[in-house]
Symmetry: C2
Subunit: 200 residues, 2 copies
């Protein structure tokens, strides 16, 4: 009995290890060669697994990449509650700015955005993941701030998303300008001021 119980547990751990190995291989291949030139063969080789291990999990390259990237993107941004809106914003923006400056993310994100501009299926998957996740994030942070009396009731969560992520994305991923020590603090003040000013 004991051995038959241990066997599936061991297999589950192994399955988990293989999934982690494949995920890391996909992220590294995406960074190195981009989505267009990524092949299941190269991922399998890099992960040290057979192609069947991949096809057992995903039916094609698009499905594999989209699931892995969505998972990683959603893992990267937790929902903070530091006790103040400024604190929540600063923490969120610190996490986002680190993610955007990460070697792998800074290669993968522009590449997937370019693929999305050519492939409606990629565009739709990425946008659905982004929207759902961001909207939930903004609603939580804005909701907390309204409850604390820091923002007016009915503050626009959609505008909050654009304000919390847009300037940072622009600076780090597009203009690729450095972020000064006090920039995030300043940005947190700016976003709070923006949401108050835009409220009707």
């Amino acid at each position: 009995m004991a051995t038959t119980k241990r066997a599936p547990a061991g297999a589950a751990v192994l399955r988990g290890d293989i999934t982690v190995a494949i995920r890391n291989a996909v992220m590294n291949e995406l960074a190195e060669v981009g989505y267009g030139r990524l092949s299941i063969e190269a991922v399998a080789r890099r992960a040290g697994v057979g192609k069947t291990a991949i096809y057992r999990r995903w039916s094609n390259k698009l499905e594999m990449v989209m699931e892995i990237v969505s998972d990683v993107a959603e893992r990267k941004v937790p929902l903070p509650d530091t006790g103040s809106f400024a604190g929540d914003l600063e923490l969120l923006m610190m996490i986002v700015s680190r993610a955007l400056q990460h070697r792998i993310a800074s290669q993968i994100i522009p590449d997937l955005m370019a693929e999305a501009a050519r492939n409606p299926q990629i565009a739709e998957t990425l946008q659905r993941a982004l929207r759902t996740h961001q909207q939930a994030l903004a609603e939580k942070l804005v909701g907390q701030a309204v409850a604390r009396g820091e923002l007016p009731e009915g503050t626009d969560a959609g505008l909050a998303v654009d304000m919390m992520l847009g300037p940072l994305y622009w600076r780090l991923a597009i203009a690729r300008e450095p972020v000064a020590d006090d920039y995030l603090e300043k940005l947190a003040l700016a976003v709070t001021g923006a949401l108050r000013a835009a409220h009707p």
Copy 2:
């Protein structure tokens, strides 16, 4: 005399026409196949000119694409003075949002950003063009607003760039969410509030 005078004038017009034809061909090829697969041959064919006409103007593909794209990018954003900061912002953001939603721009920009992530020379050229142009733009609009008493002296023009372009870029080019009728007006209020709140 008259004929010898007309001849160079005619040649100049022709040279200008050819440059326009090449520029349009480059923009369309960039949108269709992307920088990586763009070839001088295809541009020449599309523009209806010989390859020598291209090599007379630029020494290679990188130089050609960077000069054309920088020119177009700088042409797209004039420096408005509508009499109020909110008006200047709304006009600027209307121009930027139209440019970002343009079929060709929405293909070319993500592609060049992906190339920039892989090719430091492209990254540097694009960032230099962006920085110089944006900084000048922000300094002009902020300077006008300070002179009108709408923003405090010493308002951060670097932060203004991120605030004026980031949220719009995020919404239109990354999340690809639609812009509601009153969005730009709201955004102009938000940006003004942001710059006031971030001022020390």
